[in-house]
Symmetry: C2
Subunit: 648 residues, 2 copies
C-alpha cells in the first residue's frame, strides 16, 4: 500500500489524562453499548435493526427491513471506532467481534459489489433512483471509512477489499462518460471516504471518482432534477428557500461558485473536507480558493464560540445570514462540529495556518465532546449555548434541544461519530510535511513521526488543558535537521518557548501561527511550551446581536458555562462587572476533575412590583462559578448559559 | 328592548384627533377594501369567496364552497364594523350596501334558522359533528355580534331577528337536557356574542345558553372525545401537550378550575370576556374568582409591554411558562390584543379597578393598532417587539412574523377585527354603574351618559396621548349629585386634577385607581386632569429573562420603538446610559404626526477583529430616536426593537 501520500498519519499513542479518560470511556462504555444497540439488545431503547438488516440482506434470516435508509452507517461507524480503539490497544474479544460482523457485511454484499441493506432488502429495484434523499453513496462512504481504518489498525483487508469491489462498481455507474449516470449523493461523505481509501490504496481511480463527485455537484442540467423526472415525482422534498433549490445539500450551484456555507451543516463540512483534500491532491487552485472562502465564511460569520455550527434547526443547517447565531435555538449538532474537526485538519494540510488548529482545538474541547456525558452513556445531538429547560420542554421550536442528554436516538448518528473521533484523537496531534513536523494539539502522547525518511519519537507530557506547561522530548533515530512547528494558539498571550531550557524569542520565529524551531535535533532534546492559562474574557463581534453586551469566559481552549447547579435559577438575571477577576482552580471532586472559574457577579432580585416596573430591580452581589462547557449537564439538570451580561 | 341592563353603553361621538383619524381610515380605506375583498374584486389578493359562498348557500348561484370553514366571519365582522361606522356617522351608500348583504345572509339561512355556508354548501350532512375544529358556533357568534351592533346603530332588526331564530335553533340542540348535545365550540365566541344579544333582547334564554356553554366547557366525559368517537376518528388534532388534551381550546378542564392562561390566545380572551360578563350577570363568585385569577396570570406573567399576548407561535398560544416572553419569536396576534381589550372592559364592569383600564389603554395605543398601517391598507397578524428582517425572512420559526405589513390574508381575521374595534372605540371611554361615571379612556369626544335616569353630556377635549391636559365639560340635564370617577393611569406620576380650576387632592380621593369626584354637578362644570407626559423608562421584572439588562421607553400610554429608519442597522449594538434623558417632541412630518423621543446612546462599532475578540469593541456616542411602537414600519422597512440595552 501507498506510504508516500500526503495524507499519511503519524502513529500516536495517547497517554494524556484528559483524552485517555475519554478514549477509555469510548472503549469501556460507548462501543459496548452501541454493540448492544446494533444487536437490538438494549432493553430501554428502540431496536436499531442494523445487524438484523444485514442478516436479512445476506439471506441468513427472514424478515423485513427496519430503520432509516442509512441504518447501515451506525454499524459502519461502530467498526471504524473499533478500529481506532484496536489501533490504540489490542483487544482480542473486540477484534473478534468486529471480524465477525465484517464477515457478515461481506456476505450481505452483492456479487456485483453493491452493499446497502435498505435497497437489497426493501427496495431491490430502486437502486440509484433517488440519490438526493436516500443516502446510498453516503452509506457506502461510511463503510469505506470503516474499511480503511480497520485495515490501518489491524492489517486485515477483508472489508477493504470488499469496499474496493464496491467502489469499482460505483465507478462503473457514475461518471462523465456517456453511459454513466451524472449523479452524486444528497448527503456528502463518499467524497472524503474515497480519499481516505486512496490514502491506503494509492489507486488513482479512487482519487478521481471523488474528484468527479465534487466537480459534478450542482452542475446543470441538475442531476436531482433528472432523477426526479425519472421517478415521475411531482413534488420535491428538501427544497431550500432563498439559497436556491438543493442548497440544503450544497448542490444549489457548482462547488467552486459557493462562497457562503448554506444548508445542512454536516453535509457541508463533509463536502468541504473533501474539497480541501482534493485541492491539495490535485493542486487545484480554484478548489483551494473556494474552500478557503467557505472556511472564512463559516469561522468568521457562522460559528459559535464552542465551534458549534448550524445555527438553524430547520434543516439542521447554516443560517446563511452572517452573525445569525442565537444561543438557545441553534442546532449545533455534535456531528457538525466533528465534521469541522475533519475539515480543519484538511485545511491545515492544504495551507499551514495555525488558525485551522485553533478552530480544531476549539471544537475538540468544546462543541464535540459536549455531545457525550462523562460516562459515555448519554448524548446530545444539539449543543446550545443557553438552555432554559422549562422553555425547551414547552416550545415547539426548542424541542430539538433536549435539556438533558438522551440515552440513544433512533437516528443514532452522533454517538458513534463521537466515538470514532475520540478514539482517533491522536491522529490530529501532528502533521508532517516535508521536513516540517507540526504540533497541532497538545496532549501527553508518544508519537512516531517520519521526517526525511527517519523515524522521530516525540514524547509529549502535559496536563493540558488544565495546565499550560507542555514538554516534548525529541528522539530522532539519528541527528537530523528539521523544523518543529509548534502551534501558538491565537488565544495565548505571553506564551514562552524553550529548547533544552533555553528560551526562544517566539515573535522572531512565529510564522502563520506556528513557532518554527529549525535545528539539528538530537536524542533527548526537550522543547517546552508554556502557555499562560489565565481566564480570559471573550467578546463577540458587534454584529453578533445575540451577544451584545455580553461576555464569555475561556481558559486556554476551554469555553466556560454557568450552570444552575452552581448559580441557581434564572441565569440571565446575572451580570458581571468588567473589573471582576475570574479565579481558576482545579476541583478534583466535580465533573471528574476540572478547572472551574469563580467570579464575583450581580443578581437582579425578583420583587413584587409587577411585570413592568418604573425602576430597575435591586441587585445583590453573588459569587458565580463556571465549569467547562463540555462538562455541563453532568449533575442535576438545569439551566445553562455561556454568554453572561457584562455590566458596563 | 332592554334598557336597564348592566351592559348598557353610553353613546359617544368621537372627535379626537388621534382616534378620529383612525376611524376615518377604517371608514375610508379598511371597510371599502374589505368589501372588495369579500366580493373577490381585489386584483392582487386571493379571492375571499365569502359573498359567493352566501349566494350559493342561498341557492342563487351554482358553485362550490371556497375558503376556510369560518369564511363567513369575515363578512360578519365587516357588518359589525359597518354598524359602528354608521353609529358614528350616517352613510346611506354604506348602509344600503350592508342592508343588501344582510338580506343575502338571511336568504342563506335555513328554514330551521341554521346559518353557515360551509355546512350548508360543502358538508350538509355534517352539521354539529365537529365542534372542536369547525368553528360552527364561533361563526354563529360573529353573526350575532354583527346583528346586535347593526341593530344598535340603525334600529334595523332584520339580522337581529334572524339571529334570534338561529339562537333558538342552537338552544334546541345544545344544553344539559337529556335530548340535547352537551357540546360547545372549539373556538369560543358564541359565549360573549350571546351576552351581547342578551344586552338588547333581555331574553334570559340568551343569557342562560351562554352560561351553559361556559359551564359545560372541559367537563367529563369530554364532549370533544364523544363527538370524536361519533366521527369514528382515530387521530385527534389540536392536542396540546403538557397542559392536558384540549388545552389549545381552554377545554382541558372546567373553566372554574383554570388558573393559568393556556392555548390559543384569541380563544382564551374571548372566553375570559364571557366569563367576566357572566360572573357579573349571574353574581357567580366562583366564576369571578377564576376570571380574576386568569387576569392576574395573563397580565403579571404572560403579557408584553405592548399588551401583546400569546408568546408562542405554535398554536398562536400562551406559553404557559411565566415570563416566557421572547421579543422576536412571539405570536402576539393583533386579534389577541383586541380580545384583551374586550376582556379588560368586562373585568372593569365586574370590578372597578383602574388597572383594567390601564391594560386596556396599553393594548389600544400599542399592540392592537400596530396591526394596521397608517393608511389602513396593510396589516400585521403578528406584532413582535423586535424584528431583524433578514432573520425573519430566513428562519422557519420566524416566518409568521412578517417584517412588513401584508395586504390581505387568506385567513383575514385581524383586519376586520381591528376595524370593528377602532370604529367602536367610543364604547370603551365611559362606564356607568349606579351613580358612578367612570372615565376609562381619554379622548376628545361628546358623550351622553345616563345617571340616575338623567342624561348627562360630557364634552372631553384633549390632545391625548401627545399631551396630558384633559378637560371635560359636564352638562347634566339638571343639577345632580353623582360621582365622576377619573382613571389615574398607573404610569402617571404627579397627576393633577381640577374642578372649575380648583385643585383637588388626588391622593385623598383615589380609590382603586380612580379619583372619585363626588359632587352636585351643574351645567358647565369643568374637570381638568393634567397627566405629566415625561418619557419614562420601563424595566421588566427580573424573571423576564429576555429583557434582562434592557430598558424600554414609554410616554403616557404609548410604548416606543427604535427603528432602523432612524437609527441605522444592527439595533442590538445600541445601548443607553441610565443618565441619558429622553426628550420628547411632536414631529408633525413623520408618521402622520407623532411625539418622537430622542436620547443619547452608544453604538458598538464593527471592526475586523474576527467573530470572537479579546477586548470589547469600541463604542461611539450616537443620537437615538424612538417612535411610537404602533407606528413602526410605516417608512422604509427595516429593523425594530422596543427593549434596548441599558449600560449599568
Amino acid at each position: 500500500m501507498n506510504k508516500k501520500l500526503a495524507l499519511y498519519h503519524p502513529k500516536v499513542r495517547v497517554t494524556d489524562s484528559f483524552w485517555r479518560e475519554k478514549i477509555d470511556v469510548v472503549k469501556t462504555n460507548v462501543i459496548p453499548y452501541q454493540w448492544e444497540a446494533l444487536n437490538d439488545r438494549l432493553p430501554d431503547a428502540a431496536p436499531s435493526h442494523a445487524i438484523e438488516n444485514l442478516k436479512i440482506a445476506a439471506g441468513e434470516k427472514e424478515g423485513e427491513y427496519h430503520g432509516f435508509v442509512f441504518q447501515d452507517t451506525d454499524l459502519a461507524k461502530w467498526i471504524e471506532a473499533v478500529a481506532y480503539v484496536l489501533e490504540d490497544q489490542a483487544d482480542e474479544t473486540l477484534e473478534a467481534q468486529a471480524d465477525e460482523v465484517i464477515d457478515l457485511v461481506v456476505r450481505a454484499q452483492g456479487s456485483d459489489g453493491y452493499l446497502n441493506t435498505y435497497f437489497t432488502v426493501k427496495e431491490p429495484g430502486k437502486r440509484w433512483t433517488n440519490l438526493r434523499d436516500q443516502h446510498e453513496l453516503y452509506t457506502a462512504g461510511h463503510f469505506i471509512e470503516a474499511a480503511v481504518a480497520y485495515y490501518q489498525a489491524t492489517g486485515k483487508d477483508v472489508l477493504l477489499k470488499a469496499m474496493c469491489r464496491f467502489v469499482d462498481y460505483i465507478d462503473s455507474v457514475f461518471g462523465l462518460e456517456e453511459d454513466k449516470r451524472k449523479g452524486y449523493d444528497g448527503h456528502q461523505e463518499i467524497e472524503l471516504a474515497l480519499l481516505r481509501l486512496y490514502e491506503v490504496t494509492g489507486d488513482e481511480k479512487h482519487l478521481n471518482l471523488s474528484y468527479y463527485f465534487i466537480n459534478q455537484r450542482g452542475q446543470q442540467p441538475h442531476y436531482f432534477d433528472i432523477e426526479k423526472e425519472e421517478r415521475e415525482e411531482n413534488s420535491g422534498t428538501h427544497m431550500w428557500k432563498d439559497v436556491g433549490r438543493y442548497g440544503y445539500s450544497q448542490a444549489h450551484k457548482p462547488v467552486r461558485e459557493q462562497d457562503e456555507a448554506v444548508g445542512h451543516a454536516v453535509r457541508a463540512v463533509y463536502m468541504y473536507s473533501a474539497m480541501a483534500d482534493l485541492a491539495k491532491l490535485k493542486s487545484d487552485e480554484g478548489l483551494a480558493e473556494a474552500t478557503k472562502t467557505l472556511w472564512k465564511n463559516v469561522t468568521n460569520k457562522q460559528m459559535y464560540l464552542t465551534a458549534g455550527i448550524g445555527s438553524q434547526t430547520h434543516g439542521e443547517a447554516f443560517s446563511t445570514i452572517a452573525y445569525d447565531l442565537p444561543n438557545d435555538e441553534c442546532y449545533t449538532e455534535t456531528c457538525a462540529s466533528i465534521g469541522l474537526v475533519f475539515w480543519a485538519q484538511r485545511m491545515m494540510k492544504l495551507e499551514k495556518q495555525g488558525a485551522y488548529g485553533d478552530v480544531m482545538e476549539r471544537a475538540l474541547y468544546n462543541g464535540t465532546i459536549s455531545g457525550m456525558d462523562l460516562n459515555g452513556k448519554r448524548f446530545f445531538y444539539v449543543n446550545p449555548l443557553e438552555v432554559w429547560p422549562e422553555q425547551s420542554n414547552r416550545r415547539e421550536n426548542r424541542s430539538h434541544a433536549k435539556p438533558v442528554r438522551q440515552k440513544w436516538y433512533s437516528c443514532a448518528c452522533c454517538p458513534p461519530n463521537l466515538a470514532r473521533l475520540i478514539a482517533s484523537i491522536g491522529r490530529y496531534m501532528y502533521e508532517v510535511e516535508e521536513d516540517y513536523v507540526y504540533n497541532q494539539l497538545f496532549m501527553s502522547a508518544e508519537a512516531t513521526v517520519r521526517v526525511k525518511e527517519t523515524d522521530v519519537i516525540l514524547k509529549q507530557k502535559t496536563n493540558y488543558p488544565w495546565e499550560g506547561h507542555i514538554a516534548t522530548e525529541v528522539h530522532p533515530e539519528q541527528e537530523l535537521s528539521w523544523t518543529f512547528a509548534v502551534r501558538i494558539p491565537g488565544w495565548a498571550e505571553g506564551a514562552e518557548l524553550y529548547v533544552n531550557a533555553q528560551r526562544l524569542d517566539i515573535a522572531s520565529i512565529l510564522h502563520n501561527g506556528y513557532a518554527l524551531i529549525d535545528r539539528v535535533w538530537r536524542k533527548g532534546d526537550v522543547v517546552e511550551l508554556k502557555l499562560p492559562l489565565t481566564p480570559q474574557r471573550v467578546y463577540a463581534h458587534p454584529s453578533l446581536r445575540e451577544n451584545a453586551g455580553k461576555v464569555a469566559f475561556q481558559r486556554g481552549p476551554v469555553v466556560y458555562a454557568f450552570e444552575e447547579a452552581d448559580n441557581g435559577k434564572n441565569l440571565p438575571a446575572l451580570s458581571i462587572s468588567p473589573s471582576s477577576v475570574a479565579e481558576a482552580a482545579f476541583e478534583p471532586d466535580i465533573l471528574d476533575g476540572v478547572v472551574a472559574l469563580t467570579v464575583e457577579g450581580h443578581r437582579a432580585v425578583p420583587n413584587d412590583e409587577g411585570l413592568y416596573q418604573k425602576t430597575k430591580a435591586e441587585e445583590t452581589l453573588v459569587q458565580l462559578k463556571a465549569v467547562p462547557y463540555y462538562a455541563w449537564c453532568n449533575r442535576e439538570p438545569g439551566e445553562m448559559l455561556v454568554w453572561v451580561r457584562e455590566k458596563a
